[in-house]
Amino acid sequence: MSSTYHLTTPLSSEDTKQLVAGDTVYLTGVLFTARDAAHKRLVELIEKGEALPFDLEGSVIYFVGPTPPKPGDPIGSAGPTTSYRMDSFSPTMLKHGSRGMIGKGKRNQAVKDACVAYDGIYFGATGGAGALLGKLIKSAEVIAYPELGPEAVRRLEVVDFPVAVINDTHGNDLYQQGREQYEVKA
């Protein structure tokens, strides 16, 4: 039976280990945005042993490429992008302290294994709910790589940002298990 949690970032191992695929979580606090190009740069810094533009410990990374903000708004519509493009980078991020990712769509086995090994969670946000999710972002500040435009790393402050647990620290996968539960075999 799925549960509902309200968690505040940064996330601890205690926070993540209690979660099970299918749970609903409302996140409050700071999220960092990064897509393909930013991930490549962050992982390069980690491999060189250099400092990152933000503290990875307990961090939650949001895979998003928002629409331009209207004047006066912190951000435009901001729903998740497809996550598999980050699969080659995510295990390194988790190994070095990041504890959550938010996106949409399936991850590969290496990412699922890294969630188990490093107490990480892959959260699914609702794709196409860009207006709703954008509204829950109270502030957005570019903190690295402004030259990447929509792909720059942003520090977002969110309140009750709704996500579902897709891959948990126990090796469960909601995409697989949820589908099996409702599939009608011929």
């Binding site: 629409t67 331009p68 209207k70 519509s77 399936k106 794709g127 196409g128 709703l132 954008g134 409702y182």
Partner: protein
């Protein structure tokens, strides 16, 4: 010969783009509402509830429904007694597209295929639009428009079957395409199926099928029955809203069928996400 000024077309196109970016069509909204009621999975039900809330917020606050505001796709029927004055019809549609996307803070998503360079400062903001023209009798111009996102387009496929594949082959193929797609095209989806014609005719028909209102009945009873059969099969897959498991994977299946060559049975499957932003105007 009726004359329509270039600027009239630009304004009409701009208006439907601005409107479609934030206002989910009523047919889509109603279909999502029904899907939420019918959904058996509490997780998927909650996802669809968020989609309806999202549509309400987008409409009330004029925020884009989704950050993927799509490529602009048009089907245009030009009456043979109409003349556009002051410029070309195609240029007017592109100009209206650019102004609509830019002024409404929609995302510019067109890029060069290999360098991936965004075209907003070279070709134009979210240009070029994808435009399919047809010439019909009369003194009007009918413009059908849809914003087509990338996630659902990426899972679409076409194949030319031998005639013996028949309806059975088509049902199995559509089911296979949707099964492989899983949650990536942002379900609950609309499935456009183009049958017959030639290779390209089938794909264009599958696109045009997505412009039909969800909940409308195919005028061809045989195709209406096939749509229902495919819908039932697709919803047995268990994919559910955003792939999280559930009974409501597709809202509708729309078929457009064409006469074809005696040797072939082309089939195309084009998928539209739950944010089925489509509309039409007649000028």
């Amino acid at each position: 010969m009726r004359e329509i000024p270039f600027d009239t077309i630009v304004k009409a196109v701009k208006d439907i783009i601005v409107y479609s970016g934030t206002d989910l069509p009523q047919d889509t909204y109603d279909a999502l509402k029904k899907a939420m009621e019918d959904e058996q999975s509490p997780v998927a039900k909650n996802v669809i509830k968020q989609l309806l809330e999202n549509a309400d917020i987008a409409k009330d606050e004029k925020r884009p429904l989704c950050q993927d505001t799509g490529l602009a796709v048009f089907f245009v029927k030009v009456g043979d007694e109409v003349k556009v004055t002051g410029g070309l019809l195609k240029d007017a549609i592109n100009k209206g597209t650019e102004e609509g996307y830019r002024d409404a803070y929609l995302r510019a998503s067109t890029c060069e295929p290999f360098s991936r360079a965004n075209l907003k400062d070279t070709v134009g903001y979210n240009l070029p639009a994808i435009i399919h023209f047809d010439i019909v009798a009369g003194d009007k111009i009918e413009i059908e428009y849809a914003a087509k996102g990338g996630g659902s387009e990426n899972v679409s496929r076409a194949k030319v079957f031998p005639p013996a594949a028949g309806k059975e082959g088509i049902v199995a193929y559509v089911k296979e395409v949707i099964s492989d797609a899983g949650g990536n095209p942002c379900p609950p989806i609309t499935v456009g199926v183009g049958i017959g014609g030639t290779f390209e005719k089938a794909t264009i028909s599958s696109k045009h099928a997505l412009f039909r209102d969800i909940g409308s009945v195919n005028p061809d009873p045989e195709m209406a029955a096939l749509e229902q059969e495919i819908l039932t099969e697709v919803n047995k897959l268990g994919i559910g809203a955003m792939g999280m498991g559930g009974t409501q994977t597709a809202l509708a299946v729309h078929i457009e069928s064409n006469p074809c060559h005696i040797a072939s049975l082309p089939v195309s499957v084009n998928v539209q996400c739950h944010s089925s932003r489509h509309t039409h105007i007649t000028i």
